[in-house]
Amino acid sequence: MRYLCLIYDDESTVSAMPPGASDAFMQEYFSFTDAIRKSGHYLGGEALQPVSTATTVRVRNGRTATTDGPFAETKEQLGGFYLIEARDLNDAIQVAARIPSARMGSVEVRPIMEFDRP
């Protein structure tokens, strides 16, 4: 079963890291990604640019309304994701718990909805 792990971090904490610490943090991400590729969990994953680059788009009555910023202002911001293949929720939780940001921010684990399409 596929799960999306949404990674929420406080951007200000991450950007305030001294260079040594942020390099080590990135290195942790690289090794984590390698590890879940090897274990067969990895389907995809990306890091996102900060929310200051976000644009929110809505179409109402045929008109496109574009606004600056993320969909919701929150204390922790969506900073990246992994799409994983896991046996069940327990397996997915174990993978999510190893994402480096889980120690400072939070990881939301969402099962992917499967549609039967002919």
Partner: protein
């Protein structure tokens, strides 16, 4: 109804009471779905009512019921699969699994019960969903019984159960006993559910009665089951804690429903059998050296329970146990309890200094027991005005009737102005 039929029906009812939860736990594993398993279990018992009078009661009724339930469910799915292509895969899966673990095997059955408990208490479910689902599936309470016990509308409880089951299915919460590495965290979640159920029964969060016996009895039954299946120190400690609290149940309130403090309770009416069982369990958990907060709280309760009279209480030991508890689980409430024990050991002035330090940090400003503890210490020190102000503050913070009456009585005993009820 002939005599044989009547007897067979009695046997079915007895087996339902003793084994329906185990049959259900195994059927959930075999069928992979709570609702399907429940339906199958009821059909299996219905079939037993029809068949056992003429065929006789099978040697292993539980195994018979599991295989009858499984057959009924698969048969039903096969029939539906003719109209619904998506069920074909399920039917094929059942056919492949035909030679799975035998249903009557005792180890497998015990494992199934644990699987059910861990699944119902999965931390990915909301707490109220964990409680409702556990009481429904593990304890076999009806939705109406759960609703009555929690003073909640039945549709609310029903919806919590439905939502929990949907999440188990849609997020694929597995039906399994957690691996060693996760076991301690996951057992904590199970014990929390058991303790919440117990507390809900022991001290109702609102309303007129201090105790709601059925829920506490259910929690103790559940606690026993967990200890039987998984004798981990904290599971043993929690069972001990519940038994020791329960031993005092009848003396906690007067016939008029007023609160009676530990020091004023009639100790000759404490349940000695429960105290003996609870104390023995405490010793067992402590001996493991892997104990935690439940065991320590139980040890404190055991010291109280073993004192022949309130003035014989070994307050030094209680203060020591609170200090260990504070080290492993720091909390302002535990600090407050320690302060009350220090007051008993070293006098009210020593206790009051500690309570004031806690309140000065602002942690327990909204906690009525902090103010009522402060009031009590001021009263013992003869600081009547301070005591009165603190009792009033406590009164403003609690909604429970018996506790309000207790505080009002204390205020009256201090004399002075009339108490207005608000």
């Amino acid at each position: 109804m002939t005599q044989d039929e009547a007897r067979a029906r009695e046997v079915v009812e007895a087996v339902y009471r003793s084994d329906s939860r185990r049959v259900l736990a195994t059927l959930i594993r075999l069928l992979g779905d709570f609702d399907l398993a429940e339906e199958a279990m009821h059909e299996a018992f219905a079939t037993a009512v029809l068949r056992w009078p003429s065929d006789g009661v099978p040697d292993n009724p539980r195994a018979w019921l599991v295989s009858a339930g499984r057959f009924k469910a698969i048969d039903g799915i096969r029939r539906r699969a003719r109209f619904d292509a998506s069920l074909h895969r399920l039917v094929e899966q059942f056919d492949r699994e035909e030679a799975g673990p035998s249903a009557g095997d005792d180890d497998t059955v015990e494992d199934d019960q644990l699987r059910l408990i861990f699944t119902c208490c999965h931390p990915a479910l909301p707490p109220e969903g964990q409680i409702a689902l556990t009481l429904r599936e593990v304890c076999g309470l009806t939705t109406e019984e759960i609703a009555r016990a929690f003073l909640a509308p039945a549709p609310t409880v029903a919806q919590r159960i439905v939502r929990a089951k949907s999440k188990i299915r849609d997020a694929r919460i597995p039906y399994q006993i957690p691996a060693r590495a996760e076991l301690s965290d996951r057992l904590d979640a199970v014990l929390r559910v058991v303790y919440l159920v117990f507390n809900e029964g022991y001290s109702a969060s609102a309303g007129a009665s201090v105790t709601r016996h059925d829920l506490s009895a259910e929690a103790i039954r559940l606690g026993r089951l967990v200890v039987e299946l998984l004798p981990e120190p904290e599971a043993i400690g929690l069972l001990a804690l519940m038994l020791l609290h329960e031993s005092r149940r009848d003396t906690r309130s007067s016939p008029e429903g007023d609160l009676v403090l530990l020091a004023d309770q009639d100790r000759s009416r404490w349940d000695r059998a429960r105290i003996a069982e609870g104390s023995a369990l405490v010793q067992r958990a402590l001996a493991s050296r892997r104990f935690g907060p439940y065991t320590l709280q139980a040890a404190i309760a055991a010291v109280h329970a073993e004192a022949p009279a309130a003035e014989d209480t070994d307050w030094g030991q209680i203060v020591g146990l609170y200090e260990v508890l504070l080290r492993i689980e720091p909390s302002p409430v535990v600090e407050l309890n320690r302060a009350a024990a220090v007051a008993m050991r070293d006098g009210p002035a020593a206790g009051l200094a500690l309570v004031d330090a806690i309140l000065a940090r602002g942690d327990l400003g909204q906690y009525y027991l902090a103010h009522s503890a402060r009031a009590d210490l001021c009263r013992r020190l003869g600081q009547t005005d301070e005591a009165r102000a603190a009792y009033r503050r406590a009164l403003a913070l609690t909604r429970q009737e018996p506790e309000r009456r207790f505080l009002e009585r204390r205020l009256r005993e201090l004399g002075g102005e009339r108490v207005s009820r608000g």
